[in-house]
């Protein structure tokens, strides 16, 4: 079948003018900076679902912000939202505020609201399941659970709460979802289809997902992940949300907005090796990083820092290390690489978004966060693996996100010029 609309793309530069984040590190940018500068880890026992029979009982748990009276929805409506959507609402409000925008006047109707999530409102699905199996003829609360289990419903509530009307698009590409959402929104602005987009990702801890990773024996038994350590034994799950405001140069200038960074490259590729395991040489990772560079019209040698996917699982890290070395060639030894999952855990569908925010903080603060807890570096790491937070001149950075199903995504940000 033919697709009729054919418009010559008009490329425009795209800047990040606001960001909001909530993660186990804290609920604002400064908390994240402080934590990364100190090299702190943030793992504790989960206390809001039963982990007593799990092999692992800890995760990166976020402090869920309370209902805020400035939200234009009632507390009752707020309470219908799942944990993850509440995290996202908070991050979105912070991003809009950071961009010095007033939702009603500065965010046009039909602004893309592109969200990545892996598990979406799974905790509500779990509650629905338990109610249907324990009290199948009591319908109390079930319709609400089903309505809000559908993430697009919650995204509508977030827009109501913050006073704007956007075009919701929810990308669920497992652990690459957040990066895909930001990359997709970037292209919507880059190609001139929109002047502003809100993009990010979220995921909250959910029993089924936590048990799933535990069943796969993908979780670190100690609860402390050690990405790129030769004896790494798995990841730690985390939760959180991050949101970016993306704007065309024209829109940014018209508003007098201050750019945090330019987003200049997005690449994606599919790893066909296995549903849950990457190709040992990271072939798709090489493709996604190369595609991002091509999109940004830069060479790998222009990248100073990579916020790696770096889960801490034996298979992921060696594949990513091999991919970085192949992609960067002789320049690999000069590239600083770290995984902030070592400090906050793997935020799944939010990972690409929070790690994009980390990249922006690195550009702003001229420092690179560390891969923590490393004792012996895996010999595959033929790059500058950052083991202590470091002040460094960084101008152009890349973040990788790789997910189940072979979804690989890479984003490139650089300091505004």
């Amino acid at each position: 079948m033919s697709s009729a609309p054919e418009q010559a793309p008009v490329y425009q530069r795209v800047f990040v003018t606001g960001m909001g984040m909530v993660s186990p590190m804290g609920n604002d940018a400064q908390a994240h900076i402080n934590s990364m500068r100190k090299g702190e880890t943030h793992f504790r026992e989960i206390d809001f679902f039963d982990v007593s029979r799990q092999r692992v009982v800890t995760a990166g748990v976020a402090d869920l912000p309370q209902y805020r009276s400035r939200y234009a929805i009632s507390e009752r409506a707020y309470n219908r939202l799942d944990r993850g959507s509440r995290l996202l609402l908070y991050a979105t409000q912070k991003a809009i505020q950071d961009a010095r925008m007033t939702a009603a006047s500065d965010i046009p109707n039909n602004t893309p609201f592109v969200i990545g999530t892996s598990a979406a409102a799974m905790p509500l699905g779990e509650d629905y399941f338990k109610a249907e199996t324990t009290e199948p003829f009591s319908r109390k609360g079930q319709l609400t659970r089903i309505e809000y289990y559908q993430p697009q419903k919650s995204m509508g509530s977030i827009q109501q709460a913050l006073g704007f009307r956007g075009q919701t698009q929810i990308i669920s590409n497992a652990c690459a979802s957040g990066a895909n959402a930001i990359g997709h929104a970037f292209h919507l602005v880059k190609t001139g289809q929109h002047q502003i987009a809100l993009a990010g990702g979220y995921d909250a801890l959910a029993q089924m997902v936590f048990a799933g990773f535990d069943a796969l024996q993908a979780l670190s038994k100690s609860g402390i992940p050690r990405p790129f350590d030769v004896n790494r034994d798995g990841l730690a799950i985390g939760e959180g949300a991050a949101m970016l405001v993306l704007e065309s140069e024209a829109s940014m200038n018209a508003r007098g907005a201050i750019p945090l960074a330019e987003i200049c490259g997005y690449g994606m590729a599919t790893d066909l090796h296995h549903l849950t395991q990457p190709h040992p040489e990271g072939k798709a990772a090489v493709k996604s990083m190369s595609a991002a560079c091509q999109d940004a019209a830069i060479q790998p040698s222009e990248i100073q820092y990579i916020n790696s996917h770096g889960t801490g699982t034996p298979l992921n890290d060696v594949a990513e290390a091999n991919a970085i070395c192949e992609w960067a060639g002789d320049h690999a030894k000069d590239i600083m690489v770290s995984s902030t999952k070592s400090a906050m855990g793997h935020l799944l569908g939010a990972a690409g978004a929070i790690e994009s925010a980390v990249c922006l903080l690195a550009l702003q603060g001229q420092f690179v966060p560390a891969s923590l807890n490393i004792r012996d570096v895996d010999p595959a790491c033929q790059f500058d693996l950052i083991q202590e937070p470091r002040d460094a001149a960084v101008d152009t950075v890349l973040t990788n996100s790789f997910g189940f199903g072979g979804c690989n995504a890479s984003l490139i940000f650089r300091s505004p010029r």
Binding site: S2, I146, G156, Q167, S172, Q207, G212, L275
Partner: protein, 332 residues
């Protein structure tokens, strides 16, 4: 792939009343009681016969099998081979409302019983993008692949993404797929909206190329209106009204609407489309409500109509809780 059988033609025949669909009563024992749901499922034997063979599909969920079967039909053997031989850069956009519910149900049941015995084989198949991964794996497609979660009108958002990828030259062709599978979790959820809303399952897929790619195609998407977003019922009515502006482009077209046959659910769309005096067909009323596959089934009916007696067809997608869309398909 649908309750009507194998292939797009079967959906069209069922919707035109040329094929009788059987309804199945599914029972779930809940304590001392039995909950009965009436559904229109895909025939397991038909699926097995139509589905391509691939190691990835041995343990895959039904929704993955539906998706890959529809994808292969949409592309045809020649294009499948070209993609598998890396001669064609393919994009894949797959959308759901519900996703991999069978295995999610099974895995969570195991987790609640004893998480130490929960199957590590099942869990990856519960992830939303597992079906898209299997489609890519079968086709050996290393290109872009998105899985979208949306209401039923998200089918058209998926088409828009495909158009973007094609226009940007990222891909030579793009598969757009929607799929759903039945489970008591889904059918009992549908019953919360109406006891008369019967579920169905299956997948629909279309393969898109730019107009200039391989000479003239038989059919094309002439225009789309949307997304017309809404966050509540009052806005929904306005959104459907905005999308319905499409009726002016082709008053002689076949209208493929989204009516389910349940008055309370259909009221807004019924009212707004009331003045339409041309031919119309309501796939959901015939097949059942297919969640995220609904608008895909509608579009398949529209495309099959173009192969038969119609030159032009309109699809109206009112959505359920996110957005409305409409589209005009016509012969090239």
């Amino acid at each position: 792939m649908s309750a009507a059988g194998i292939g797009a033609g079967a959906i069209y025949q069922a919707c035109m009343g040329e094929l009788e669909l059987t309804e199945e009563k599914r029972e779930r024992i809940a304590g001392k009681e039995t909950i009965v749901s009436e559904v229109r499922p895909v025939d397991a034997a038909a699926l097995k016969a139509a589905m391509p063979k691939h190691p990835r599909l041995r343990r895959a969920s039904n929704v993955s099998k539906f998706a890959i079967t529809a994808a292969c039909e949409a592309m045809g053997a020649e294009l499948v081979e070209r993609v598998q031989n890396q001669e064609l850069r393919l994009g894949i956009v797959l959308m759901f409302m519900n996703g991999c519910v069978n295995y999610s149900n099974r895995f969570y049941t195991e987790v609640l019983a004893d998480p130490s015995l929960a199957s590590p084989i099942i869990f990856p198949e519960t992830v939303y993008n597992a079906p898209a991964s299997h489609v890519a794996g079968y086709l050996k497609s290393e290109g872009p692949a998105y899985t979208l979660i949306s209401d039923s009108a998200g089918w058209f958002s998926s088409i828009k993404i495909a158009q973007d990828w094609l226009n940007a030259g990222q891909v030579d062709g793009c598969l757009v797929i929607c799929a759903e599978e039945l489970d008591w979790l889904v059918t009992e959820a549908f019953s919360l909206y109406s006891g008369r809303l019967h579920g169905t399952e299956g997948a629909a897929a279309i393969y898109l190329e730019k107009r200039s790619s391989r000479g003239a195609s038989e059919v094309e998407i002439q225009s789309m209106i949307g997304p017309c977003d809404y966050t509540n019922t009052a806005e929904r009515r306005d959104a459907i009204g905005s999308a319905w502006a499409i009726h002016a482009v082709s008053p002689d077209a076949l209208l493929v609407d989204g009516l389910t046959g349940v008055a309370r659910i259909d009221r807004d769309e019924q009212d707004i489309l009331a003045a339409w005096s041309g031919k119309r067909v309501s796939p959901s009323a015939k097949l059942g409500f297919g969640g995220g596959a609904t608008c895909g089934f509608q579009s398949i009916v529209a495309l099959e109509a173009l192969k038969n007696e119609h030159d032009s067809a309109l699809v109206m997608a009112s959505g359920t809780n996110q957005h409305a869309f409409s589209a005009h398909f016509r012969k090239s």
